[in-house]
Symmetry: C2
Subunit: 332 residues, 2 copies
């Protein structure tokens, strides 16, 4: 983190745990509406992989692009105004074509490689990329750990690396289990510890973004020491349901819940998180379309808040981001 971030010591801080989809959209909203506080977006390391000799960090990059207002709004990943000269030539040469890489995206990967080869850590390189992309100074994009954590999927087609499952096979294999290779040796990045550390004024609120619990949040939260770090420093921990009206808005969260024998609902997602990380979450955010669930179950005694969580447009995302800041973080 640079001095811009450190000098904002007096204000409130937010820590957002994020994958590459809904969490990245929320990060984009906070980069527009959260200027009066410092926001650290903690990104999922489990999607990172080596490809064509480069380290690629898809979730971190989606957050970077979203927070810099230059993510492609249609695809929801990669850069806006992208071109494909390298990828076209790579395929013309018979190279691997299963993972699409735009020219601007490749420039970022090459620059990350250059920074890492100069001796910067992954967190330092990410901070440098954020500033070069003109991510607003109140936003810090923080890989959850400096260690190597790689999500692996046990499926009916055998054990698969995450990108093999997610991109090459389009989440088609039925999932039996997920594990995070290397996570036992990982620890939260020091920059995250610094960000959460005691300061003269202000509180820290932690938000679990509306991201896939198995593929995005667990590879962050299962890092040894992560839950105690978050819980120990946070005034409040809020979790946003990625399940809306019995479906995932995007991505395989609903499919995976089914395959793991769970009911696909915000209520079931809530129980799953609460069982897996007991005592971590103080308040839950469900989409307005799940109001009926709340009336049926009364939320099993939990603090559940309901609003429209849709972030299909920047306007919707900004509205939700502003609501989140006011309703869940600012109020004491």
């Amino acid at each position: 983190m640079n001095s811009d971030t450190h000098t904002r010591e007096a204000g409130n801080r937010m820590v957002l745990l994020s994958g590459g989809g809904g969490g990245a959209r929320l990060a984009g909203a906070l980069s527009r509406v959260a200027g009066d506080r410092s926001v650290a977006v903690v990104t999922n390391p489990g999607d990172d992989f080596e490809h064509l000799g480069l380290l690629i960090c898809p979730d971190t990059d989606s957050v970077l692009y979203s927070a810099a207002q230059n993510i492609d709004p249609e695809r929801g990943w990669g850069r806006a105004g992208e071109s494909w000269s390298v990828f076209d030539e790579l395929r013309a040469l018979g190279g691997p074509g299963w993972f699409q890489l735009g020219d601007k995206d490749i420039a970022l990967h090459l620059l990350r490689a250059s920074l890492l080869s100069e001796g910067l850590s992954l967190v330092e390189a990410t901070e440098s990329l954020a500033r070069r992309l003109a991510v607003p100074p109140w936003m810090t994009v923080l890989p959850a750990t400096e260690s190597t954590v790689r999500t692996k999927v046990v499926s009916d087609q055998g054990e698969l690396g995450f990108q093999e499952y997610f991109v090459a096979r389009r989440c088609e294999p039925a999932l039996k289990d997920v594990f995070y290779e290397g996570i036992g040796m990982a620890s939260p990045s020091n920059a995250l510890r610094d960000f959460m550390g005691p300061r003269d004024g202000g509180a820290v609120d932690v938000v679990l973004g509306p991201s896939n619990p198995f593929l995005s949040l667990a590879p962050i939260l299962d890092i040894p020491g992560m839950v105690p770090l978050l819980r120990g420093a946070a005034r409040r921990v809020v979790a946003i349901s990625p399940i809306v009206d019995g479906e995932a808005l995007k991505g395989p969260a609903a499919k995976i819940m089914s395959e793991l024998g769970l009911t696909v609902s915000a209520a079931e997602w809530t129980r799953w998180i609460d069982d897996r990380y007991p005592g971590l979450v103080d308040a839950w955010v469900w989409d307005a379309s799940d109001q009926n669930l709340l009336e049926t179950s009364s939320g099993e005694g939990r603090d559940i808040r309901v609003t429209s969580t849709l972030m299909s447009t920047p306007e919707q995302a900004d509205r939700f981001g502003a609501w989140l800041l006011e309703a869940c973080c600012d109020a004491d």
Copy 2:
């Protein structure tokens, strides 16, 4: 080398030692006119370097592009019809801009990285790239060694890596010495040994291309075992002067000769090669414009042949390539 090459056992073989300039042009000519024999172009490893996390092999790539008929004819390096999307974005992000990389070129570097990460050796990866680029089957592009050899320059501005000297500082520092880091531990690539090995029919002729003797030929010839390998297997070794009428057609060869206290002439270049590699060369090729030198010195008893060595156009290069095959290699 692939089976196409190995099945051409009966014919004559040529081994061309090449840097990235004149040697690459000659390789391009041989890829058009030498179809009745097998040609191995042995490329200089000293220019290779790591940049943006990628291994870049400039001389090898110039030979690949030239032999595949897709080198940029104006620049003399890189791909024809090149675009610069990645490089533009890299500079927009404040990344290193001193080494120009086109999009098609980057695709090749990424594919090489991918092949190396799959476990291919540098020679195997280069062979794969040659076939993908549609280099003609009688042409093999062979890095001189699998080992890491890096040319370093001792100059009036201190010790510099080759690309720092050659590209970033445009050969401006005055050169005091050149050395080849790692060359003492290197050995000729096995693929080159195979190519030169005894076969049922045909002879091997070795050509030292019109390449910079200090920066292109010496990092090949100084590899321990290289001169005995070439001399031991060759019917004839021919060296082509890169000095024409007291100048280098391109590149810093003349400037370096001056800085090292040598007269800039084909005669002096001949003496330098003969002193440094005694007994290696059987025949010398000078440009027609140096006919007068021959009349003055009588070549000091050497077998010197004179023709137009200009390769400014493909037509000139093809004419010279055909002359070389007939006058220096085919005749016994």
